[in-house]
């Protein structure tokens, strides 16, 4: 797995490549926890770009759900970008479509932060 970090104004974009499964997911959890810690109570605006993630399991889902909860607590926002087959069906199966905002292009995802 590889994670790249980019900034666009106050929005952080994490480009993730590889599978978000099992112990692999701990790295992503640590990264997001660090971002939240660094923000020190200020809201975090985060885009998770999952275009290059083919497979996610319940551990991966756990990391994203936990990130959602911590980021919301500080009045921030997390959105998912480019979710593919397996991840889409996992999120549908877990009935989380109402929780996560999902976008197909980065421009749309970024624009969604303009309104908040």
């Amino acid at each position: 797995m590889q994670v790249n970090l980019r900034h666009n104004d106050n929005v952080i974009i994490l480009d993730i490549e590889g599978n978000l499964v099992g112990p692999n997911t701990i790295a992503l959890k640590n990264i997001i926890d660090n971002l939240i810690r660094k923000a020190d109570g200020a809201p975090v605006f985060l885009i998770l770009n999952l275009e290059r993630v083919q497979m996610m399991d319940s551990s991966g889902l756990g990391v994203i759900v936990a990130a959602y909860a911590s980021i919301r607590r500080d009045m921030g926002r997390i959105v998912l970008l480019n979710i593919g087959g397996n991840i889409r069906s996992l999120i549908i199966m877990a009935k989380l479509v109402t929780i996560f905002d999902r976008y197909d292009t980065e421009a749309e995802a970024l624009a969604s932060f303009q309104n908040t």
């Binding site: 590889q2 970090l5 499964v21 319940s58 889902l61 199966m93 929780i99």
Partner: protein, 413 residues
């Protein structure tokens, strides 16, 4: 501007073997052979590099040559065992036939087994699997061993191991010993844990002479934390199913319980349903779990027709996964298991069984195809055939995730 903040090459779900040998031909041969057996292979042509790799890469097993210039194998293993980061990694000796003395000495120093050169590659793989089979259950308590630091001892680990074994036994006893028997129905179950304790579970709860509660679920993660949560959920569902008439309310109450009492990252997915034995009516609620599959023999208004004239209905009605959002709401649906119908509940360890090719997961479609040809068989045979099919798909009996399956067949009238 973009910055790479994390890279990891190895896929952790594949087991990694570190080979330390000064003979480049042996390294190349073992690398080729073990890679084709599905292992991730790292090589080191000298002891110090091997030690460095062992520490950094945390392989699942080390193949170690005894005779090496600079630092010999005995020195390498001594240093491996002196370091809390590497002491738990099993070591398999590579030794020339003439070095019988070394063999014994090697085992004394903490090697787990030995292979004599010249060796048969199939034997190497078999020995590796034998050692990994022994150490696999221990592997996930390695972080605990590290946390024990200097108080680590053989006795300490043995005690931990026996506690783990006891936990696994208690947990197995919590699962129904055998599926229930009711006139007109044929039940079968299949349960396998990837570690000694599991996060998957199923249960049959007799509610009255005419009603049977059926639970199947999956707690996120593996090992002890998942198992503890599983026990909590199972206990809650046994109590609540006798208090509440609606499966949706049972899930809602378990959701509230988990939400208030566990960390946000701990959650479960589960299906709870009540089977009316006389009519075959099954009223269920699905909390974010992979949908049970209802194979309908007599065709009427359902989702999808299969080749053999049966139809499938996926039991998706319910709500979110359990224990994450206090706002979660759950709904229920009633379907009818008619004579000849088969209902299968399963955990994602089944559909996420990876094939010989990476990312070739078994998937729901294959599961439906595979089962739709077996509907005439007994519930037991359906379970056994599914097990066989999964084995053929993955080419290994080694599980990456727990698996639980419940098959309910209503006999032809």
């Amino acid at each position: 501007m973009s910055e790479t903040i994390y890279v990891s090459d190895s896929t952790p779900s594949i087991e990694t073997i570190l080979v330390i040998d000064d003979d480049p031909d042996i390294l190349a041969l073992l690398e080729m052979s073990l890679t084709s057996d599905g292992f991730n292979v790292i090589t080191a042509n000298e002891g110090p590099l091997g030690l460095q790799n062992a520490k950094a890469e945390q392989p699942d097993l080390i193949l170690l040559d005894v005779m090496m210039p600079q630092m010999d194998g005995l020195e390498v293993i001594k240093r491996l065992k002196d370091d809390t980061d590497t002491r738990a990694i099993p070591v398999l000796w590579l030794t020339a036939k003439s070095q019988t003395e070394d063999k014994l000495k090697g085992l004394e120093f903490g090697g787990d087994d030995y292979i004599t050169k010249p060796f048969d590659l199939r034997e190497v793989t078999a020995r590796i699997n034998a050692v990994l089979g022994r150490t696999r259950p221990v592997k996930y308590i390695n972080p605990l061993i590290n946390a024990m630091g200097d108080s680590f001892s053989e006795e300490g680990v043995a005690e931990l191991g026996s506690h783990l074994q006891a936990a696994a036994e208690i947990q197995l006893k919590l699962l129904p010993e055998k599926p229930p028997t009711f006139d007109g129905y044929d039940f079968a179950t299949y349960f396998r844990s990837s570690t000694s304790v599991s996060g998957d579970f199923y249960d049959f709860i007799p509610l009255s002479d005419k009603q049977l509660g059926i639970v199947l679920g999956d707690v996120k993660g593996h090992g002890i934390p998942a198992a503890l949560l599983m026990v909590m959920i199972q206990t809650a569902s046994r109590l609540l199913s006798n208090e509440e008439d609606s499966p949706a309310t049972v899930l809602k109450r378990i959701n509230t319980l988990l939400f208030h009492n566990t960390d946000i990252e701990q959650f479960a997915t589960m299906v709870y349903g009540i089977l009316e034995l006389e009519t075959g009516k099954f009223t269920y609620s699905n909390g974010g779990h992979c949908p049970p599959i209802h194979f309908i023999q007599k065709t009427d208004n359902s989702d999808k027709t299969l080749q053999n004239n049966s139809k499938v209905h996926l039991l998706e009605t319910g709500g979110m996964l359990i224990g994450v959002f206090d706002i979660a709401t759950f709904s229920y649906e009633t379907c009818t298991i008619s004579p000849g119908d088969v209902l299968i509940l399963y955990t994602d360890g089944v559909t996420e069984t990876e094939g010989r090719k990476p990312n070739d997961f078994f998937g729901e479609e294959r599961l439906i195809d595979c089962l739709s040809n077996k509907l005439k068989l007994s519930a037991d045979s359906i379970c056994n055939d599914l097990q066989k099919t999964l084995f053929e798909h993955s080419g290994t009996t080694q599980l990456k995730d727990d698996r639980a399956v419940v098959v309910i067949k209503r006999n032809d009238a």
